[in-house]
Symmetry: C2
Subunit: 341 residues, 2 copies
């Protein structure tokens, strides 16, 4: 019963060399002859030796883990398929590197800052993925202050020393508007996220720009908190207007789905009386009635690429910004020509 796990000292003893040399051999460092390296490696695998992450962490001052802090209302997170997809992507890149994800979910921005500080003070992570960037985001300065490595999902609106991994979601909004314009719509509304969030304001701006390009007015661009509840409320408001829009571009799928329900309750047929588009192209939209025209962003690939970049930053490499395939329109049943008046 060899219950104790072998240490590097056991390997050294059996191989007849010093601890230090074993360490060199196992980390592919120079200064070890080919035969000795061979012998050490075979002894190590014979003994079933695995390095102790704890000891390695202490002496190398690394955590071999990356952090993700999600700061949103749990209710909103639960409805939004974005995060599971992101995490799945992160995992794909992390696993082969022998690293793990430390996840923190907090309710507000104050707790978010505290969470990053905890992560660093407690030596939990070597770097973080910054998602849901906000205008003038304090986390950039915080990461710098804490000496953290980081990558941002999207370009911040302030100077940042960290690589940005971006998906051109503006292209998706433009495609959605172009799609609706091509169908003949002229009164198009936008139900977007909080303007404090960069992707909220960026999508809103792209929406306005696309409308302007088509010679249309963008007066119906409304801001929400990204929740289904807000999506429903705003939709009701829009449809109660004297001249309601004939199409609504939503900034995420949960709001679009809630909006469709509200519209249908109010007696609007979709897409006959109202066209609707979502954002993020979640699977959910395939199973609504009608199915939801949406914009797909390959969230999983985004997570994978961001993690890849982060690991290289942590390793000290120079990493340049990464631009992924732009968001693409996925036309389904919820969009059609405007009602004939």
């Amino acid at each position: 019963m060899m219950s104790e796990r072998p240490t590097i000292a056991d390997v050294a003893r059996v191989a007849g060399v010093s601890k230090g040399l074993v360490s060199f051999a196992l980390n592919d460092k120079p200064g070890v002859s080919v035969e000795t390296r061979q012998r050490i490696l075979s002894v190590a695998s014979e003994l079933g030796w695995k390095p102790s992450m704890r000891a390695r962490s202490l002496s190398s001052r690394r955590a071999y883990a990356v952090g993700l802090v999600i700061a949103r209302d749990p209710g909103i997170i639960a409805a939004d398929p974005f995060f599971p997809a992101l995490i799945a992507g992160i995992e794909i890149a992390l696993a082969p590197a022998g690293q793990v994800l430390v996840l923190s979910m907090v309710a507000d921005e104050e707790a978010e800052i505290a969470s990053y500080r905890q992560l660093v003070e407690n030596d939990r992570v070597d770097g973080v993925i910054l998602t849901d960037l906000r205008t003038n985001d304090a986390r950039i300065a915080l990461a710098v202050e804490l000496g953290l490595s980081a990558v941002t999902l999207g370009h911040p609106d302030i100077p940042s020393p960290f690589p940005a991994v971006t998906v051109d979601d503006a292209a998706g909004i433009r495609a959605a508007v172009a799609h609706l314009v091509a169908l003949g719509h002229t009164r198009i509304a936008h139900v977007g996220g909080p303007s404090r969030m960069l992707h909220g304001s960026r999508r809103r701006n792209s929406f306005l720009a696309a409308l302007a390009e088509a010679g249309l007015s963008g007066e119906l661009a409304i801001e929400t908190d990204f929740s289904s509840a807000d999506g429903a409320r705003v939709t009701a408001d829009l449809l109660a207007l004297a001249e309601p829009p004939t199409a609504i571009v939503y900034s995420n799928d949960p709001m679009a789905i809630a909006g469709m329900s509200v519209a249908q309750r109010a007696g609007f047929s979709i897409p006959q009386d109202l066209s609707v588009t979502g954002f993020d192209g979640s699977d959910l939209g395939n199973f609504t009635n009608p199915s939801l025209t949406s914009v797909s962003t390959q969230v999983q690939e985004w997570g994978r690429a961001a993690t890849d970049a982060l690991l290289r930053v942590i390793a000290g490499e120079d990493v340049v910004d990464v631009e992924l395939a732009p968001a693409q329109l996925v036309p389904r049943e919820s969009s059609a020509g405007p009602p004939r008046t």
Copy 2:
């Protein structure tokens, strides 16, 4: 510019005592006089000393972290609000204890086993939360083999040395059936999860038992993989029967929502022609048309309680099973009396 972080040796030097005594004082161990303890504590806080988790981990052989491995298809996870709520609950219990969550998301059961092994071999976690229990679940034996602490979400169907934290979801299914029976339904179908998953088969059994109690036949209990797609497919099959059911009890909300869409497409009005109930009482169901009668399980509280129990197991306490408030029916618009024939 005091850039280096103070160590326990610094505190000892300034306080004029030995390293060991500082450690005792800071961990509330006996053998330190009140005045000395006071002095040490004040020196520590003056210096802004924070224990190094890495060093502490190495010498105490603990990770101060717990693991959660989610093994489901990413698409299914994304649609299901269960996991975000669970994680939010876990976080609530973890943060005050200074511990963190290491999350792993894998696609299949093989990767799942490998993931647990990695977590342990790499000293990542002190314990794990076992969710989505399956029949004869190999993870129980695996955790024992690896010497992991654990808690299970629900009772396993095999002997387990780990405390179980349970929510009586059977009560929820019974309540849903009772609700439908009271409304006058006699042909009630069940669209449930995989029978390999314990909550899948348990809900199915409760469904059958509840029907039997009401003197009804349970021939329409169908098994799915929990995905929206499967929910849609099975619903279509059920409605195509010569004598379709007048009510369907779904085992999660995404399937119920997909099922409603399919039914509506097929010309069924809900709830006039078909009543529908979901499971897990997600916020989503508030914003469908009609809103979804569902069963609420307080998932967040489940995660909190499970984490609490796990931390106590890790601390070596004797922990007994915890039984949370049973699942409760949340009646909304999708259920009503059967159509008059």
